[in-house]
Amino acid sequence: MYDLIIIGAGPAGITATVYAARKKMDFLVVSGDIGGQAAWSGDIENYTGYQFITGPELALKFEDHMRKYGVTVKEPEQVLDIRKIEDKIIVKTDKGRYESRTAIIASGKRSRELSVPGEKEFKNKGLTYCATCDGPLFAGKDVAVIGGGNSALDAVLQLIKIARRIYLVNIVSHLTGDPVMIDKVHESDIVTVMNNAKVLGITGAEMVNGIKIRYDGQERIIPVEGIFVEIGLIPNSHFAPDLDKNALGEIKVDCCNRTNIPGIFAAGDVTDLPEKQIIIAAGEGSKASLSAFKYLNQHR
């Protein structure tokens, strides 16, 4: 039985790992990937010590720091269930089953899906959740961006340089991102902003050829070859049914990263802590690790 299992290897999980290694705990890391959301961020200019660094570069530095301690990392491996039975925490994954005395859940967030007909079918066939990745493939094409917050505006601003025509499909009455970005979007003559527009489905044959929306009191299909879904993130907390969560599905933690189950801690974007930032997640990861260490000492 391990002292600690850390679930997730983004900024929070990796920092927890560094602290756990330095406390010489007997622990294991289980994660779907390494770097988490940081690894697919664009440019990072607010992580102290780096005036400018890209997401993949920072993620690699995090990984190197973790590997330095010779940590056991099970990756890629998906956690399916975590629960506490008497004094044991049992973690079930798609590849195994592990037991531990404490756990830190640092599993982050993932892109929210539209949940409309055609979404699954046309994923990567014109529909994407990563404008940074796939944007350049839509050069000269008509595309739709779904959303109205900063990530949607960011996608539009990247696509302005590439696409022929951009429809920004926003479900609420106005754009909610930063005013600086909204101004830039309005200044472009290739962007059509559609507020109060609801996506009903994705159409296509082999690839996407349109998006069905309800707009201005009527249903219509806009012909597009690309659809960028940027409607926010949801926490990866589904595998922890016994933990208290808020309405968004974020795991509730106190100031010491404790959840409602003694011995199970949580850190980073998966928690209900305000502000989702790489530097905050990293700090929370270290705090969770120290809390787990204290807990172990108190429950020997």
Binding site: G35, A39, P56, P76, T128, D134, P136, L137, A139, M207
Partner: protein, 78 residues
């Protein structure tokens, strides 16, 4: 023994960067094809993989869509 590896990628795509890092760390040499500038290669990638997401990794003709470490390791026999 050395397998022929091609990576269809875009310069901005973090998963592409991660995939290429992984290949380099595994001492696998590969041809890097930038589909944001090479439109013929972009068409070829879409036709062969039946989809538009990057990266697409071609290992001796076997196509792997996305940065899927397990599949890459298996295809390379790592």
């Amino acid at each position: 023994m050395n397998k022929k590896v091609k990576v269809y990628s875009t310069p901005t795509c973090p998963f592409c960067i991660r995939a290429k890092q992984f290949l380099k760390e595994s001492a696998v040499s590969f041809e890097d094809i930038d589909v944001s500038t090479n439109h013929e290669a972009a068409q070829e990638m879409m036709k062969r993989s039946g989809q538009m997401g990057v990266p697409v990794i071609d290992i001796e003709g076997e196509l792997i869509v996305g940065f899927d470490k397990d599949k890459i390791r298996k295809a390379l026999g790592l």
